[in-house]
């Protein structure tokens, strides 16, 4: 009994805490800050400050229940790039480079479509990545935004997405 109790304790203590964002489950990170309803985005998770800024990642249930066609998405990623260039112009940013479209599967078998964009704004380089997650028939949207120098946060974001799950069947 004692041995069983010890094993249970061990299991709970080593298991990361989970944040429930409505029907989205993500790993809770120490010293991160979760905010809700900022600029219409339901959840934004902020890293601790590094190099003067906090990186952030948003999580949104798009409400869309669709599947994404990898091939055509990959083939039309130039559309994404053109749109990003237009946005950059609108906000006074300078495009630097693009992260190519890629698809992966996370810990729970959810397909994650990723694409990214590097740009400069007011003298600082940023890197953003968009994640379209096919999770139990729904499309979840996540976007990370960080200073290019805060590459360390990228691993944290990958970790979050790798362990992301959603409610439903």
């Amino acid at each position: 009994m004692w041995r069983l109790s010890f094993l249970l304790f061990l299991s709970v203590s080593v298991q990361a805490k989970t944040l429930i964002l409505d029907k989205i489950y993500i790993e809770e990170k120490e010293e991160w800050k979760l905010s809700k309803d900022l600029f219409g985005m339901p959840y934004v998770y902020f890293t601790p400050e590094l190099n003067g800024q906090r990186s952030n990642i948003s999580f949104t249930d798009t409400g869309a229940e669709v599947e994404l066609d990898v091939k055509s998405i990959a083939q039309t990623q130039n559309v994404y790039q053109d749109n990003k260039k237009k946005w950059a112009q609108k906000v006074g940013a300078i495009p630097e480079s693009f992260l190519p479209y890629e698809v992966s599967t996370n810990k729970f078998g959810h397909k994650i479509h990723r694409i990214g964009f590097n740009f400069q704004h007011e003298g600082k380089s940023y890197s953003e990545s968009s994640f379209y997650i096919e999770c139990r028939g729904k499309i979840l949207f996540s976007k990370s935004m960080r200073l290019k120098t805060n590459e360390a946060h990228d691993n944290e974001f990958r970790s979050l997405l790798h362990t992301l799950d959603c409610g439903g069947v």
């Binding site: 800050k33 905010s35 309803d37 900022l38 600029f39 219409g40 985005m41 934004v44 902020f46 400050e49 003067g52 800024q53 906090r54 990186s55 952030n56 948003s58 949104t60 798009t62 409400g63 869309a64 229940e65 669709v66 599947e67 994404l68 066609d69 091939k71 055509s72 998405i73 039309t76 990623q77 559309v79 994404y80 749109n83 990003k84 946005w87 609108k90 906000v91 006074g92 940013a93 479509h113 964009f117 704004h121 007011e122 940023y126 953003e128 968009s130 379209y132 499309i139 949207f141 976007k143 935004m145 960080r146 200073l147």
Partner: protein, 775 residues
Amino acid sequence: MKKLLSLLIISSLLLPSYPVLAETAKSSPEKIIAELEDLGSVYEKKCLPKDKSEASIKKHHEKNGLSEECWKMITRINHLEDQLQKVKAELEQKSSCENGNCKQKDGTLTSQISDLSKVNQAPMCTAERKQEIKNTCNDELTCVMAGSITSFAGYGLEKILPSSMKPKNCNLGDDNCVTQLVTGFISAAITFFKGSWELLKMAGGAIGKKVSNLWHSVVGAEDHSSTSQLALAKASEDKGVFDSLTNDFPGTMKKIWQTFVASSKEWLKHDIFCQKWEGIPHTPGAKCLRPSEGFDCISCKTMVNGMCAFSGALIAEVVPAFLTGGIFTAVKYGVSGASKVSKLFKVSDATMKTIKTSRIGKIASEADEVLKISKGVQAGGKVATSGLNLINKYLLSPLRKGLKTSYTALTNLMKGGGAKVAEMPGGKIIVFAGTALSNTMKVVLYPIDNPMTALAYRTGGRTIEKALTLGKATLPTKSVAVVSVLERKPEIESVLVDLRKAEIAGDVEKVRKLEEVVYANVEPMRKEAVKGLFMKEHQELDEVIRNLYPELKYGDLARRLPPEKILAAEKELYLEILQVKNPAVRENLEKQFQQKVSAVSTARQNVVGSSKPPYDTSEWHILPVSKFQKEAAEHLKPLAQAGKGKPYSPVSISVVKDPKGALVYAIDGGATPKDAQAIINALDNSHHVKVNIFDELAKNGNRVDLRIPVSGYGTLEIAKLEAQTVNVFLKEPIDSTSRWPSAMMKVMSPTLKAAGAEMEEEKERKRQEAKKKKE
């Protein structure tokens, strides 16, 4: 002050001035004082003595009179002072109005203010008004926002701005424009994101069909999330800004909205409706030199209303840049950061055109007009408050004190009578009883016939001539030379005046004609006149020449006369000079004569050629005294004893000059040989020294008789002269043998001729004897 004003008024009546009534009627006190100070400084420098005491200024004016230039200035100053007093009275009246003691009266400033008041039915764009707008703006915007949100059904709006935050007395009415802008902003900033997924939802189409055009479907969501998350990343640079956003997003959003509107206003002021640019308008690096300040006078609600027509374009083109670049400033500094944030605003050319032709453009234009009026009213107020101080400062200034003293002195001098206008080559001056006018000055005087009335003041022109009615010209204080002429020829005065005027005017032809008239009248009686003048020890030779011997100016008149007449005139005048008893006077005159009648004068050479002037002693030769005194004694003693000559003394000196033996000096007196030797030595120096020595001899009781026929005039004249004197005549021919010139001998007076002949014979006899001895 009253006394001073009275004085000024009286002075202005007495002293004609240059009127600029229309001009100064509209002048500000600043302008009048600026001109008074400028003019006063020049007047002080040119028309007043260094010592600005009352006595000194009065003495200065009395002595020097008042030049036309100074006249123009002082009358202009008088006029400006008069205008200043009028403005001062108006300002004092205005000042009384402000204190509730207003006596309405037609006047320039009053009417201006009245006019402004009529226009000023709209709220004035004063600093207070601007501040009031600024203070109420936030509440108005919050009201606008709250009203829009409550009427906008959508995602989480109640969270954005709780109704509890809605300001009191917030009544928006049914203005769709306001709602349009606010909801547009809220949508762009907040609510849009939720709706942006609709395309994606629809993109799937039929069940089981995969989405292939993902990037087209998510462009709105992509843009919004990029904008928002970049803004959040930047906001995290400041803990306060970050905490404000994350802990109280609705409250912070209110602040962001207010800053957005304030930034929009700044942008419209400094960019879209900028009235003057440095550089190419609306381009990077261009600078707005004159923003449309009228926006400061438009309430925020009115402005938001006015932005209705382009709210869509504004939201689409401006908000993203505002959110990414301006959130940090908006949250940290609020509306005070609006100016900085507004620089982020950029729109397409089409949008700019839309904005310019929108209602806000008209509102801005009207607001600018209101602002202009406000400034006008403010300026009026400033005139009333600061204008009086400015005027009083001037009235108490040292500069004004000097001007006032000068003015008073001139007025008193005018009152004293005797003021005349003197015309000279340099212009006209007003002279007073004590004004010194040199007799040698080319000047005529005009009596002032019209009195210095107010009419003269008002209708007076710039010049003395236009302001005053001048009487018949006269010569200034007449010199003794002129008097001596006029005593003999009174009718010549008008000719002399006309001549003087012609000289002043530089009318050469007229001068020539009048000189001939004067010459013809004066020539016959001038020797007598000049003799009388010299007897009275008159020493102004220039004046004598101008009035009595005009041909000795060697001008046109001289050139029209034969040279002999000129030389005769020189001789005549010189002889008269040499007969002046007072040695100092004579020496002075002689010196002047030598300057006037100069051998090196081109003008004289043009008239008489190389003829030597009468004072030229350069070729004089002196005979040994001992020899001639003996000879003279021998030959002239009997003449004297016979009563044909004057008492004879053993010492006689003769100096003969001139190759033709024409110039002879004879001295008959009681000089000792020693004295005679001194005289001879002195003769080597100059003529006047010699004369002085003669005078010294005379003082010692010796009688010195001097006769100086002028060289170059022929022996006939010398003979005439010597025939009159019949004293001692010793001469020395110029040639080396010291023989008497035969030509001279021919015309000698019989007595002298005989004496000379005897001497000649004696000389010849002695030469023969010496020759025989030698042989």
